[in-house]
Symmetry: C2
Subunit: 241 residues, 2 copies
């Protein structure tokens, strides 16, 4: 038995959660179907973690087992021929049989892409327009979220898993047209990145005071960060193992 | 009564012809609905010409009449707030009451966007990958299509309108990643641009001899140019009046 690790990029616009809107297939299911079409065998695909409706991926990671040896480049090309064009295999690798896409993920990087100008008909799926952002204030506010905190205030009410997480860094990059916020953390709670972005934007546009950030971290009061930034600006960039 | 001219950009991916896949609304209908939402009045929208399923527009032109004076910038902003994000108003103008978006169109420009590398999950709606194109051959073949010809060989069987048209220029531009072919002509038949591109690509990849071009122009034999290039690479760039 061989274990294969795939690095996958996808446009999340037409998927609900990991479920395809049109035919109710998840990314896993779509990958499983393509693998079956290529190999004539049923396999089970494991994903590093689910992404919400509209969230994109540049480097999602999945794994699956298959009885025969497939040369990685042949696997990449064969799957890309059979997958819908909004899912692309970036890389295939043969890994140790103990590797697990979800359990072994050490940290993840996400980008949030903000446009400084209104989006065109062609870019509206891939960015969010937020006017009048004070970038230096955005950077100052981001710093307060770095480190180990209880992020329970930035998720949904019924989160049962531990809510203490570590954010290694939040980097804000500005170009003429865009502001990109890159989050690197050991793991993230549901909606956490989008709720952090919502609050950061509110602070950077003077709608909320910067002190709100520490208040949420201390009180875990979810009502203070209810402004969830749209999914379409969010990209899962990389999963580190 | 005031006549308004709108320059409109749209991502054609989710439209069938000019009909929206999800709710069967056409671009006209969608515009009419947005105008109604803004003004509380029913208006009829006229388009310069229909585009096929998946074809995009950077500068489609429409007109409509409305009893009251609306400041053009207010019209643009008001409609963009009400339209789906894959349709954007680029510009609104008040024009003479005799202006007609379709009848007055003097010429049109179309771009066909070819990618030299396989598309990513995020660019696959907006370009077509054709490998191994000989660009100098593409330019040479394009020259043969310029001028006034009977383009009946490049359309669908049952075209009843006159098939003699003039192409003023076909310009091929190459960058590191893309090849763009810009067609400028007085008007184009259904599928004409995409069938010309299909043939040009076949010639530029040595699948067909360059002599096929003159053969089709002379014989109008549609079976010689059946390779219709995919709609998603095609953009209506500009309508000249």
């Amino acid at each position: 038995m061989y274990r294969y690790k795939l690095t996958v990029s996808y446009d999340g616009s037409d998927y609900y959660g990991m479920q395809r809107l049109s035919n109710h297939d998840s990314i896993q299911k779509t990958l499983e179907k393509s693998i079956k079409r290529m190999t004539s065998k049923e396999v089970k695909v494991f994903v590093s973690g689910r992404t919400d409706k509209g969230v994109h991926a540049l480097g999602q990671v999945v794994h699956f087992d298959f009885e025969a040896l497939i040369e990685p480049n042949i696997l990449t090309d064969g799957l890309n021929k059979r997958l819908p064009e909004d899912i692309r295999i970036i890389k295939s690798e043969i890994v140790k049989n103990t590797f697990h896409a979800r359990h072994d993920a050490k940290s993840k990087e996400y980008d949030y892409v903000i446009s400084k100008k209104t989006s065109s008909a062609f870019t509206q799926r891939y960015e969010v327009y937020f006017p009048n952002i004070d970038v230096s204030k955005l950077k100052e506010a981001s710093k307060l979220l770095e480190g180990t905190h209880d992020f329970g205030g930035f998720t949904v009410t019924n989160e049962l898993k531990p809510t203490e997480k570590t954010i290694y860094s939040i980097k804000v990059k500005e170009t003429k047209t865009h502001i990109k916020i890159r989050f690197h953390g050991n793991s993230f709670l549901r909606y956490q990145v989008r709720r952090m972005v919502g609050l950061l934007v509110d602070v950077a546009t003077n709608k909320k005071d910067i002190s709100t950030i520490n208040k949420i971290l201390e009180t875990k009061d979810q009502s203070l960060a209810k402004n969830t930034a749209p999914a379409k600006g969010l990209y899962l960039v990389k999963v580190h193992y």
